[in-house]
């Protein structure tokens, strides 16, 4: 069995070998790699595990199961769409970076032990940063380095946690779910089923490392900082892998951790406020991504079969519709040169197809019945509401209304409609349109016919899972969704008509990155300059002391000073006589 190629290796090594192919073939090879890799993954038998012994530890570099496969399939689809979307870009660096990045993410979701996971975890950081550097501007270099530091730090913390975990348990295995007492609640291997909390210090540290990549509140800002700074096509890659890999890790290892519920809830809420006042539409999408991750984190925290199915299904659909929205904005950036809302408007005249695709993405993310987001978000929401937690109910509904604003209305409205900016451009290139078309197809297809998605979910999709009712296209569910969406849209119309909707303004909005980009930077500069001034003052005073002493000694030797004064012959003879007397006396004492 060991002669199988690991999932992800075709992408990683294929990507690295890409520059060796003739230029005319390179793009086609790039396109073939995700297809080849997906077919290879598909035909690996389910339940297949490859183990190897290193020292006293058993590593499992590959383990195939249903949970991993959900991410495996959607990562390949995302890789294919992103490569297609990037076909017009003549920059091999971006192709190599994007494909190896996708490969690292695919490898990570099939990792059966923590060491393998750590290796892929760091690999996703190192491979993806070139999608930001590829802009080749000083700003991109700075942002890329910030991104890399935070991503690598997440890996280092993960490694530290893993070492502790190995010391505690003696095993590097990722482990599998355990059922709770009620037999429908699931707990990850790092969670105590009795308390619903991480088992030990090591599992808290690993949770923190996962939390950085999953953009937990206060650990999130690398996302909004870096994604809008990548190339127009690079952001599409970035939006798919890193954060969803972290969601996979949370579902796999921390299912049923109750603290994930409040964390996820805060994640769904705070980004919607930032998204309203943000002017850069790619940054709005980054906040929106953060908000969507919140739903998945809640799903992982609730930890029922329906909730984990919901988190997995939502990750699947989200990668596609979020990719579609980033593609639409990437097309705008490519054609117009900006995604600042206050400089856009009226682009539906120039880019009608992009407009339609963007609207399909917006309807999906908003959870409009008939689109993929409706199907998948409703699984998570039903599972969450099934906990009968009022705060969670109110919070998630507010978050859903927020999504209608930032991704449902703001993105398509300010880019393609609103006030006509007068900007006219060509429609997006054909490969971009094709990639958007594929994503849009899946948004609608999974909305109308979700069965193929249900089939690959980790648990059987049932209408009723031990008390947590779930009816997807029930009349009640469809009506309540329409009510929320239409009435929120009506609120937008009322606010626009009464000029109450906040205008799009060129600005920087402070977020947690102000801590390290401004406060810590300034503190470090102040501390540095204080040390420098103390040092230069101390050095100056020591130097002055030495110079003064030398000066004083020198002064004594000057003519007419004590040492420099000319002696008379008489005085010299006197001192010579005293010296001789001294020698004589001391010689005499020795003799006696």
């Amino acid at each position: 069995m060991s002669n199988y190629i690991f999932p992800g290796f075709i992408l990683i090594f294929g990507g690295l070998l890409l520059p060796l192919f003739p230029k005319s073939l390179r793009k086609w090879v790039a396109l073939a790699l995700p297809v080849l890799s997906c077919v290879h993954m598909h035909y690996l038998p389910e339940g297949y595990a490859l183990t190897t012994q290193i020292f006293e530890y058993t590593l499992t570099p590959v383990r195939m199961d249903k949970l991993s496969l959900v991410w495996g399939y959607v990562f390949h689809l995302a890789a294919l769409m992103s490569v297609l979307y990037q076909m017009h870009v003549k920059d091999t660096l971006q192709d190599v970076s994007g494909i190896t990045y996708a490969g690292a993410a695919v490898g990570a979701v099939f990792a059966g032990d923590l060491i393998t996971l750590f290796v892929y975890w760091e690999l996703t950081a190192i491979t993806s940063v070139f999608l930001i550097y590829a802009n080749r501007t000083p700003t991109a270099a700075k942002i890329g380095t910030r991104y890399l530091i935070i991503q690598v730090a997440s890996g280092v913390i993960l490694f530290f946690g893993v070492l502790l975990w190995v010391r505690e348990t003696g095993s590097v295995d990722i482990g599998s779910f355990t059922y709770g007492e009620d037999n429908w609640h699931l707990f990850g291997p790092f969670v105590n089923p009795e308390t619903g909390m991480p088992v030990s210090m090591a599992s808290w540290i690993i949770l923190f490392a996962f939390g950085i990549k999953a953009a937990f509140p206060f650990l999130h800002n690398w996302l909004q900082d870096s994604y809008p700074a990548a190339t127009a096509t690079g952001t599409v890659f970035l939006s798919a892998f890193t954060t969803k890999l972290a969601i996979y890790a949370l579902v796999r290892c921390y299912a049923g951790t109750s603290i994930l519920i409040p964390i996820g809830l805060v994640m769904t809420l705070f980004p919607i406020i930032f998204a309203v006042i943000e002017n850069d539409l790619r940054k709005v999408l980054a906040y929106s991504l953060n908000n969507q991750l919140g739903y998945m984190v809640v799903g992982a925290g609730v930890g029922t079969e329906l909730a984990l199915n919901g988190a997995a299904a939502h990750a699947f659909a989200h990668i596609i519709y979020k990719g579609l929205l980033f593609m639409a904005m990437g097309a705008v950036l490519y054609r117009v040169g900006t995604t600042k809302a206050n400089q856009l408007g009226g682009l539906h005249k120039s880019m009608p197809l992009t407009t339609i695709f963007c609207i399909i993405g917006s309807l999906s993310i908003s959870g409009m019945p008939g689109f993929s987001g409706f199907v998948t978000k409703s699984m998570t929401l039903s599972a969450a509401f099934g906990t009968h937690d009022v705060l969670l109910f109110v919070g998630l509904l507010i978050a859903s209304a927020g999504v209608v604003d930032h991704s449902g209305i703001k993105i398509p409205f300010f880019a393609f409609f609103a006030h006509d900016s007068g900007k006219r451009c060509k429609e997006a290139p054909i490969n971009m349109l094709l990639a958007m078309g594929i994503a849009a197809f899946f948004c609608i297809f999974l909305g109308i016919y979700p069965q193929p998605l249900y089939d690959i979910l980790p648990f059987e999709v049932r209408a009723d899972v031990n008390g947590a009712e779930w009816h997807n296209y029930s009349a009640s569910h469809v009506y309540t969704s329409f009510q929320l969406l239409f009435m929120a849209a009506l609120a937008f119309v009322v606010l626009m008509k009464t000029n109450m909707y906040p205008p799009e303004l060129s600005c920087t909005n402070l977020d947690t990155d102000v801590v390290y980009r401004r406060w810590l930077k300034r503190s470090a500069m102040t501390i540095g300059s204080t040390i420098q001034s103390i040092w230069s003052r101390t050095l100056g005073s020591i130097k002055a002391q030495i110079v003064g002493t030398v000066q004083r000694v020198g002064d004594q030797a000057r003519p007419n000073s004590i040492l420099g004064e000319p002696w008379t012959i008489g005085r010299t003879a006197l001192w010579a006589a005293i010296l001789l007397l001294f020698v004589f006396v001391s010689g005499m004492t020795k003799v006696m």
């Binding site: 000083p138 700003t139 700075k142 942002i143 919607i272 406020i273 309203v276 006042i277 009226g346 539906h348 005249k349 509401f385 009968h388 009022v390 109910f393 509904l397 507010i398 859903s400 209304a401 927020g402 209608v404 604003d405 409609f417 006509d420 900016s421 007068g422 006219r424 009712e469 009816h471 029930s474 009349a475 009640s476 009506y479 309540t480 969704s481 329409f482 009510q483 929320l484 969406l485 239409f486 009435m487 929120a488 849209a489 009506l490 609120a491 937008f492 119309v493 606010l495 109450m500 909707y501 906040p502 303004l505 060129s506 600005c507 920087t508 909005n509 402070l510 977020d511 980009r517 401004r518």
Partner: protein, 86 residues
């Protein structure tokens, strides 16, 4: 780029058409708010059964509150575009 010329006006540039969209939305809202009362409801909280058109009202109010909060929040966090000097 300049100002848009009259030659490329689209369907959406006509105020009358915008009104059509707005009124269609109003009608759709009315439709789902009223229609929602005639279907069999199933929810997890009592308020979903007792308040007519709960989700619609919640959506409208929540949306307005989000925007109001954002306007206030902007006063706190908004800085010039070159704040970070990058």
């Amino acid at each position: 780029m300049g100002a848009p010329n009259d030659g490329d006006k689209s369907w959406f540039d006509e105020p009358r058409n915008i009104n059509i969209i707005v009124w269609t939305l109003v009608l759709a809202c009315l439709g789902v708010m009223v229609g929602g009362e005639f279907i069999h409801k199933h929810g997890h909280f009592e308020v979903e059964y007792t308040v007519p058109g709960f989700y619609g009202l919640f959506g409208f109010v929540a949306y307005t509150c989000i925007i109001a909060t954002a306007i206030l929040f902007r006063k706190l966090v908004m800085r010039p575009e070159d704040y970070y000097d990058e």
